[in-house]
């Protein structure tokens, strides 16, 4: 589905072992009752166990042979175990995934700062919320916290898998650090923000393990629907008993229990909780920690996505793409001046100017000009530049500043320059004007580089009815241009945190569900307001508390994946439900003729699968019913393939595969099992 998702093998040895253990532990009726469908199968199994024991001591031909009853009992028991196993596998996988993340946070030494600036060595397990620690170069950060002093480069690869180090500093929105990551340079003071065992990862593990897992609202509704179906088929089975007697065809208890178990939706009943856990697990594999199952489900419903321009729609920062000279200066000279003026400009834009010049064959370097006078870019002057030894003054900056500079020196701003500047702005770029000796020299074009493939991605989202909104600090003209090129539906230009908040509230007022991603403390209210708020792990603690998911990768495109994971979860649930119910058609054609054929031989006409005998027909149906659960575990865990092709086509597609397929597959399966049973002479 995406490059971020780490695909482990579905069944690893230790996962299987844990799941097998869980299959038996979960037999406890107090646990089973949470799953009404499978609980009734367990009750059916108990009835069969009692019956089989009775038959051992006092055989009753009307109830079938001891061996036959025993076989059915075993298969019913396996059905329950398979369902438990499915849940067990999902839990074990989620747990393993979370554990591998938690491994990064083994007990590590920590330097606790106590009053007076003294350092006390303790272990990370002893750390409490509110402690202040010192982490120096080469040390592992012992727990989640916030930098209160200093700046450091940090290797977060243990968590994110991304090898490039990141910079985290006190104040601002990049102050969050995660336990288990390593400080590569400098030292920082970190305020511990969580108690032991309360990190998001710990919470996630508890969610996956089931201890604190609560069914999500849609899962509850589906459970009710399935319980309703179970009740229906209970009535069908129970009333069949007197009907059979009336028709002089008393039906054996084993047959009734088999009919019941085959009809109730055991397939979806057995896989339902596994699907839910797998949804959270898929989020975790994408390095997104969900604080609840509900959040993943809600993600599927999102109508509006608020996406940050930088990092989501465009790659990082703006880049220089063109030099436009005015005033008849030699082209190469102009480019050289541009490059030289950027030597002291450490902004990404400045660096990109030097890169572009280099690409065009004009190289400048810092050392050659080391004894000349540099003017750094500052927020006050909004320009940068250099005074060369020969007295040439080169300046570069925002057009309005440069224009002022030119006019102040009684020079004129040529019409040509004005029109180039306008053209660049209209095309969504940012113009930087350049002067040489306070005379207009030319313009540098800075442009946003839109990520490849992002247009298609937004197209897909639109097909699924998701509206995309670009959030940017750019001026409205630039924002509009980029919005058009990228194909987003709307944009918020010159965005302030409260603009996001207002946008979310407005969308919600018209009934829409909104998702956003944020990192700063001032994003926290909007993150809390949004229906799905994904906080970046590098963000402040406040932001992480406010959101309902945390992205360990700090990747703004993750929001799109989260929506897809949510949709996939719901589609998987619906598809397997449809499959489960559609299966009943074939099982009926196997079982119903078998029930009455002894006294009404004409019912043989309904035995369209031409199954060998009533015994083999019922056994085949029950075996199919049991086996389909483990066979669908991979589908439940991986999720049904999600294709963003629009609701109509998606429904048609899934209906054909899981509805029609659900009708056809068991006819084939039951027939094959019946053949096998007959050939091996079991029945």
């Amino acid at each position: 589905m995406s490059k971020h998702i780490k695909e482990n093998k579905l069944f690893q040895k230790d996962i299987i072992i844990n799941a097998l253990k869980a299959s038996f532990v979960k037999l406890n009726p107090a646990v089973m009752i949470k799953n009404p469908v499978m609980f009734t199968v367990e009750v059916g199994t108990l009835i069969m166990i009692v019956l089989t024991i009775i038959l051992l001591f006092s055989p009753d031909p009307a109830q079938g042979s001891f061996i036959y009853n025993l076989t059915l009992t075993v298969i019913l028991f396996l059905t329950v175990l398979f369902a438990n196993f499915a849940e067990g596998v999902a839990e074990a996988r989620g747990k393993a995934q979370a554990e591998s993340l938690r491994k990064t946070r083994q007990d590590t030494p920590a330097n606790l700062l106590i009053n007076g600036g003294k350092v006390k060595k303790i272990m990370s397990s002893e750390l409490k919320k509110g402690d202040l620690i010192l982490v120096s170069e080469g040390e592992i950060i012992p727990s989640d916290g916030e930098i209160v002093e200093g700046i450091a480069t940090i290797d977060e690869s243990a968590i994110t898998g991304e090898s490039a180090p990141v910079i985290r500093e006190a104040g601002g929105d990049k102050s969050g650090v995660t336990g288990g990551t390593k400080v590569l340079s400098d030292s920082i003071k970190v305020l511990i923000t969580i108690e032991k065992g309360e990190s998001f990862l710990d919470k996630m593990i508890m969610l996956v393990e089931g201890a604190s897992r609560q069914k999500s609202p849609n899962e509850i509704a589906l459970t009710i629907l399935l319980a309703g179906f179970t009740l229906m088929f209970l009535i069908v089975t129970v009333t069949l008993h007197p009907f059979g007697i009336y028709a002089n065809t008393p039906i054996a208890i084993a047959f009734l229990v088999s009919l019941y178990v085959c009809l109730i939706p055991t397939t979806i009943g057995g896989l339902l909780s596994a699907i839910g856990i797998a949804g959270m697990d898929r989020a975790l594999r994408a390095n997104v920690i969900s604080k609840s199952g509900k959040a993943v489900e809600t993600a599927g419903d999102i109508d509006t996505l608020l996406l940050d321009k930088t990092g989501t729609i465009t790659i990082g920062n703006r880049k220089a793409t063109n030099f436009f000279k005015v005033n008849g200066m030699d082209e190469n000279t102009f480019i050289k001046y541009c490059a030289m003026s950027s030597l002291a400009d450490e902004t990404p834009e400045g660096k990109s100017i030097i890169e572009l010049a280099k690409k065009m064959g004009i190289e400048v370097n810092h050392s050659a000009h080391s004894n000349e006078k540099f003017f750094k870019f500052t927020a006050q002057t909004r320009m940068s530049g250099i005074d060369l030894k020969d007295g040439t003054e080169v300046r570069k900056g925002a057009f309005d500043v440069i224009k002022q500079l030119v006019l102040d020196n009684k020079n004129i701003v040529p019409h040509e320059m004005q029109s180039v500047v306008n053209k660049i702005a209209e095309d969504g770029g940012t113009p930087l004007a350049v002067t040489v000796n306070n005379k207009a020299a030319g313009v540098i074009q800075l442009e946003d580089i839109i990520k490849t493939g992002i247009q298609e991605r937004f197209q897909r989202l639109r097909k699924m009815g998701v509206k995309t909104v670009m959030v940017t600090g750019d001026n409205p003209l630039t924002a509009k241009f980029i919005a058009n090129v990228a194909g987003v539906d709307d944009y918020i230009a010159e965005a302030k945190p409260e603009d996001k908040m207002n946008y979310i509230i407005n969308e919600q007022r018209s009934g829409k569900l909104v998702a956003m991603m944020g990192d700063g403390t001032n994003d926290a209210p909007a993150l809390a307001q949004a229906d799905v708020g994904v906080a970046m792990n590098s963000g402040t603690q406040a932001a992480k508390e406010a959101g309902n998911m945390v992205d360990l990768d700090n990747d703004p495109t993750k929001l799109i994946e989260v929506v897809e994971i949510g949709k996939q979860l719901l589609i998987t649930r619906g598809s397997i439900t449809t499959f489960s119910i559609a299966n009943d058609v074939a099982k009926y054609f196997a079982i119903v003729p078998a029930l009455f054929i002894a006294t009404i031989p004409q019912l043989q006409t309904l035995n369209i699968m031409n199954l060998t005998s009533p015994q083999s027909a019922i056994l085949a149906a029950v075996i199919f019913n049991a086996l389909i659960i483990p066979m669908l575990i991979p589908l439940a865990l991986r999720g049904v393939v999600y294709k963003p092709i629009g609701a109509e086509k998606l429904l048609t597609r899934n209906l054909l595969i899981y509805g029609l397929g659900g009708v056809i597959v068991p006819f084939i399966g039951i027939k094959l099992i019946d053949l096998l049973l007959t050939l091996t002479g079991i029945v």
Binding site: L222, P242, G574
Partner: protein
């Protein structure tokens, strides 16, 4: 045969053609818009003034349900008093018909209260003219009106973008009667009188037949009652044999008119839904699903009855007119089969032939019509029953597009699913549970056939008779397979309770869902939402209804009509 088929097509075509404009009219009535029948308002206002009801008061679903149950309780008491004392009421009882036995009275009152009209009595000998006019005919109007008013509440709930007001039950009830049922009945009644249907308060007439025997020919104010019997999908006849009786259905023309009358409002209501919600495509989708279901049952039944009974063919007897056992010559086998399926699919339950004598599979299709209980259905309650399946289908299919399910911009959540599935299960419990109880009693009673006097035909056919009776009661249909000795305390009480419960549960449940949906936040549709007016959703809806129904009833149908059929063709 061509004439017979043309007759059926004429009935169906005319009904649908009239249903579209009539549906538009109905939606105007329920929306309170201007109609050409506004001159009825003084009469309506008189009702409201006398009863002290404020027709403008807006109620939530609970208040409306309370109003519905209250007025129904009053009618129940009233009905019981009239029927158990009809012998001593001096008015309009020329034939001196005595009081009804209490359990029979209970069954009769409930059956008319619930728009079922399961008649365990014969009109000509069991009910006085007074009972027929003041109780039975009155109930045929107001019970139909109750179902229609309940549907109007549902319309309002679905149309609301917010708030919890569903309208005013009393106002909708009165308007259903005065603006919709009454005017059309006057029109139909006039046609009937011109076709020689009796309309008299005189008693039975003595006639000397050609053989010289003296017979008492029952008659009465028939033409007044038959229009509402069909239009209100009541089905309770003036005479025991219902529309097979020449006074109740004199000729082919009246047969066509009666058949159209029963189809008219159920089909109109589909279009009324479309006009009311301004979602015509949604209404067309429902229309096609219902029509597909109806034709799925009607076409094979008509074909089978036209082919005749294979057992008789085997005896070397020609059956050019099809299977004519239990059918009227003036109506013919095709129109009888079509009428029968229309009557069971729609919870009308009037008969123009004896369903007991139908070939086994046709009988099964009649039963299936009531068991599936979602194709056209009774006035008002038809769409209400369909609504339950729409909720279930939306929930399952909705998930498959990757959103939590929505219907008309409102989320379907645990509460709605719970109510919908319980309403659906109730119908199945009453049919299977009721039949199982009867069968159990039969199984465990020594010398059952003589002691109980229920079954004239034990075996598969007897099973079908018992199954049919509970199916008819639970679907509030009222037709009988007959052949069953049903006027006993067991059948009177058990089917009475089933009718009562499965009348009000499927009304209260869906109206409650509409009430809850009404209050929910409205979510505008997007490209990612599942369209409920698309053909593909129609297919889902149809499959949900048919597959669930088939799964529930396949075993019993296999034991009853299917076995009977398979035994017959051997």
């Amino acid at each position: 045969m061509t004439t017979e088929i043309t007759g059926i097509l004429l009935i169906f075509g005319l009904a649908v053609a009239m249903a579209i404009p009539f549906g538009k009219y109905i939606s105007r009535v329920y929306k309170g818009e201007k109609t050409f029948l506004d001159f009825m308002s003084p009469l309506e206002n008189l009702f409201f003034k006398l009863s002290g009801i404020d027709p403008e008061a807006q109620w939530d679903w609970k208040q409306n349900i309370k109003a519905m149950l209250t007025i129904n309780f009053v009618w129940f008491i009233l009905g019981m008093i009239i029927l158990v004392s009809q012998g001593v009421i001096p008015l309009w009882n020329p034939d001196g018909i005595p009081a009804m036995e209490p359990t029979q009275a209970f069954n009769t009152v409930v059956s008319f209260l619930t728009n079922t009209n399961l008649q365990h009595y014969s009109g000509e000998t069991g009910a006085s003219y007074f009972s027929q006019m003041f109780f039975i005919m009155f109930m045929q109007f107001v019970s139909a009106g109750t179902g229609m008013a309940a549907l109007a509440l549902l319309f309002k709930g679905l149309a609301n973008k917010s708030g919890n007001e569903l309208g005013n039950f009393y106002n909708l009830l009165v308007k259903s009667c005065t603006r919709i049922l009454l005017p059309v009945c006057v029109l139909i009644g006039t046609i009937f009188i011109f076709n020689n249907m009796p309309m008299t308060f005189g008693g039975a007439t003595q006639v000397i037949t050609l053989q010289g025997d003296t017979v008492n020919v029952a008659t009465g104010p028939v033409a007044a009652m038959i229009p509402i019997k069909e239009l209100g999908t009541n089905g309770g006849g003036f005479f025991g044999p219902n529309s097979t009786h020449p006074f109740e259905n004199p000729n082919y023309v009246t047969n066509i008119v009666e058949n159209i009358a029963m189809l008219l409002i159920p089909i109109s209501m589909i279009f009324a839904l479309g006009f009311y919600l301004n979602r015509k495509k949604f209404a067309y989708m429902i229309f096609w699903v219902m029509t597909a279901g109806f034709l799925m049952l009607a076409i094979p039944a008509v074909v089978l009855e036209l082919q005749g009974n294979p057992a008789i063919t085997e005896m070397g007897i020609r059956q050019d007119m099809g299977s004519m056992e239990g059918k009227e010559v003036r109506i013919g086998s095709a129109a009888s089969a079509f009428w029968g399926i229309a009557n069971t699919v729609i919870s009308c339950g009037s008969v123009n032939s004896m369903h007991d004598s139908w070939t086994p599979l046709s009988g099964m299709f009649a039963m299936l019509g009531m068991q599936l209980n979602a194709f056209y259905g009774g006035v008002g309650v038809g769409i209400i029953n369909m609504f339950v399946f729409i909720i279930i289908a939306v929930f399952i299919a909705g998930l498959m597009v990757g959103r939590t399910p929505e219907l008309l911009g409102k989320k379907i959540e645990a509460k709605e699913v719970k109510i919908a599935i319980l309403v659906a299960v109730a119908h199945y419990i009453f049919i299977l549970g009721g039949t199982a109880l009867a069968v159990y009693i039969y199984n465990t009673t020594p010398e059952a056939a003589e002691t109980l006097k229920w079954l004239n035909n034990p075996s598969n056919h007897g099973f079908s008779e018992m199954l049919y009776e509970f199916t008819s009661a639970s679907a509030n249909n009222g037709s009988g397979f007959e052949g069953l000795g049903d006027n006993t305390p067991f059948w009177n009480i058990s089917t009475g309770l089933v009718m009562l419960l499965n009348r009000f549960i499927p009304i209260i449940g869906p109206v409650a869902i509409a009430g809850y949906l009404s209050q929910k936040k409205y979510i505008p549709e997007s490209a990612g939402s599942m369209r409920i007016d698309s053909p593909i959703f129609g297919i889902v809806l149809f499959s949900v209804i048919v597959i669930i129904g088939a799964l529930i009833f396949f075993p019993v149908l296999a034991l009853g009509p299917i076995s009977e059929f398979l035994l017959m063709i051997k």
